[in-house]
Subunit: 548 residues, 2 copies
Amino acid sequence: MYYEYPLTIGKLLTQTLYRRSTNEVVYGNTRYTWTEFYERVKKLASGLESMGVKRGWKVAVVDFDTHRYLEAYYAVPMMGAVLHTVNIRLPLEQLVYTMSHAEDDVVLIRDEFLPMAAKIAPNVRTVKGLVTMSDDGSAPSVPFPNTHYYEDLLSSSSSAGYEFPELDENTRATLFYTSGTTGMPKGVWFTHRQIVLHTLSVVIGFANSASPVRLDPNDVVMPLVPFFHVHCWGIPYVAGALGQKLVLAGKYDPARLLELVAKEKVTFSSMVPTILNMVVNHPSAENYREALSKWKVTVGGSALPRGLADKARQLGISVMSGYGLSETAPVLTLGTPLGDLSALRGDELLERVMLKAGVPIHLVELRVVDSNMRDVPRDNRTMGEIVVRAPWTAREYYKDESMTAQLWSGDWLHTGDLAVMDESGYIRILDRIKDTIKSGGEWISSIQLEDLLMRVPGVMEAAVIRAKHPDWEERPVAIVHPKEGVELSEEQLREHLMEFVSQGVIAKFWVPDRFIIQPEPLPKTTTGKIDKKPLREKYTNLLLQSQS
Amino acid sequence: MYYEYPLTIGKLLTQTLYRRSTNEVVYGNTRYTWTEFYERVKKLASGLESMGVKRGWKVAVVDFDTHRYLEAYYAVPMMGAVLHTVNIRLPLEQLVYTMSHAEDDVVLIRDEFLPMAAKIAPNVRTVKGLVTMSDDGSAPSVPFPNTHYYEDLLSSSSSAGYEFPELDENTRATLFYTSGTTGMPKGVWFTHRQIVLHTLSVVIGFANSASPVRLDPNDVVMPLVPFFHVHCWGIPYVAGALGQKLVLAGKYDPARLLELVAKEKVTFSSMVPTILNMVVNHPSAENYREALSKWKVTVGGSALPRGLADKARQLGISVMSGYGLSETAPVLTLGTPLGDLSALRGDELLERVMLKAGVPIHLVELRVVDSNMRDVPRDNRTMGEIVVRAPWTAREYYKDESMTAQLWSGDWLHTGDLAVMDESGYIRILDRIKDTIKSGGEWISSIQLEDLLMRVPGVMEAAVIRAKHPDWEERPVAIVHPKEGVELSEEQLREHLMEFVSQGVIAKFWVPDRFIIQPEPLPKTTTGKIDKKPLREKYTNLLLQSQS
């Protein structure tokens, strides 16, 4: 009889398991091949089943990036359950909220987070079992019924007897929460089909390219996006599908990351700019030039500032941008040179292609529109909101009809991001709509100002926020954190920006009214991006006060 | 509201149209960009609609490889109709049978095939309209109601007003007939979803590879597989999805193909071995060394003989094998080096990887099994039948339940091909089950013998067939067609094979009983493969006679 082939996550491993890829998954001293990985995945599923996990159950993971987390990425959806990747950087109250909202049934939790479990248990009443994990091999003692140590659960399970069920491709596979800037985090979920199609298109986006950051089947991949963050941008599924060597970094520490790149011969990573900034500015970075010269890095989450890109290039790193959001699984665009643009080289390639969000990957329909949903011209100047359709967009905010209706207003997914488009269709993100500064009725892009400020040699981090103004409604204020031992002055920063005014890069009225130099690093969101919310709260009345 | 994204053929063009790719589609003196192509596709759909074409109607095309055929590849399925790619090489009786069996509603027909139309019309009663096509721009006069000249139909249609409907991805998109060796051709049809998934996976198969035949987004593609043959192996959809320059060769003439490769800077083609053989043995091939040195060629349809591969390599052409069948859309495997095998070079790479059928592309589940559906060992020696599952396999033989049941026996699609598998999972096709020779209970592979015979310098073509034998049931007979001006002797061919016997490559009993040297080229199937059926008919009693 005809076999109805479903697009389910297990199918992604077909070629890798068939070839018996000898490439390894590496976490600390643990290393095993993809074939051995699959044996453990089967044992995990079998173990979870013995704990009572059924189709549709929510299995939450509270961990850093480890091989066990990777195993859960496959085993949980493949058995028909839903993987909830818990954001461990959320404040405890919000973390408990997400688990309670998700109605998690079983929790896989790393030993150092167990103290939280005491707080979670009474508030997340749906939890029916715990699986504890530790790096040192010791099983923590937990006074919770149906608690098992991860490795014991696997040892007591047989992979031989276990067979994954055939699932409908529209079965829910994953669930996670996107930290809004206001209110409680919102949940988004994705189906098997969505993840499979996302994986295929991301592979094509990276592999079918003349880019210096082209993905090669022999790449050694080390994701530096947390596993709890939007499917780790899809890397766990891409590496599994291609059977690539996959290095898992655990907690991110810049010195150790540099060591890992060299030791494991890592050639491909993805990360937010903050992580790249930490790595390239680490005092020992210069000692790793040889390894770094083979390192291809895709940056997303925030725009890649030119200054940071240049610093990375000086160390030999190849860099490129990408763009997406939690609601889109996440990848929408990549800064890969296609068509005529693939003939560009050096700075021109960087500016016109690779530092931009780029072009949509295959199957993504993307528009930049004004408030009446009319496409803006491709003039690289007219701003509009990015709206998209793709086979892997979130259907809804979980249990939130009103936010869902906003997200899908006009039958297109609204990204909340402002961008311009050039004649080839390459987009540059100018700002989150909510971060934009509206001065006298005109938009000012905080991202572009931050990019220019980052080019001042002594600047480590920069954020531009809006502050209330009596005459102009809003005006920009810059907050700058200098590199260690560097003295910066407000005048120096203003003069730096005035140079770009005279070059016509920005308008004069874009120059911030105030430059605040602060010795402490800027606050970060749970995913490592600069968090402007507390800065806005602190400085929103600054210009009103100074004028009064 | 949430947008349910269907996997339909129109979506394949998303990135190409978005980028406004400036790469051209070229046929003779006609050349236009993919953006202009899409305008014509909309006009064609609009024109067909004005002729009465409705969803589910069968629109047949009778043409060589032209830009108009390409337009039909998109317009017909995108409007919800079914594209029937008529095999113009079939004997007229069988051609009429296929059109009658398909119940074609409208026929797009090239002027030189119009004499056929007179035969088709009375036998295919379902036809409600004709669209005539010609290279010279003249509209032939045809006494059939509702007949339009293609270019007139387009000029009278507006692309501005036409919008393609949103279709369910499981809508039928294509239909064609596979010429069986016995009986009438069998129909297979494919849905939009199947074609989209096939396209994505074929792109990954070619692009995610360390192969010398890796597909690059800047490749200039010239398919040398007829458009009527299994979606032209998917090239029209791949090139459209990637927005590559696409050169259409019309009728295949080796001298003109060589000219086209040079003139249009073609870098990527796919073809059956017969076409490659014609091209590399053409007297003027040597003059095109520079252009040929940039030519990457994928060979499928039959095994790529080592001798032919060597000849191609001497001219600088990079060659690789692939494997698939009409029933599988067609691609199943590619001879790309993955994992450890990507470190191989030269002859070893060729023998162990690139001349083999290779490994399954993504999502294809492939097994080599014995008659009890047990997997054969990965020893490169034990033969078994290839059975597969993939998202793009034919659901059935159209209106033929009994053949469908055979095809899907045991819930796996039976390819009818015998193969061996090595330890890395690379498969080598040994024979069609029906072409294999069973001598004294042991299998002899006709393909392997043909491969060895092709290495004799003077051999242009070789076929090994089974002939009845009084003692051994069947014995092999070789039919060899020498290159022009070359004298070959039976003794010389036998001695050549005996060398491989002494090297242990083949067993002594594999050496054919007779070598027939014939001055005429060997008969070909409609897709250009050597057709063994008439040879078998001619020689089946040869060994019985010679013994009597």
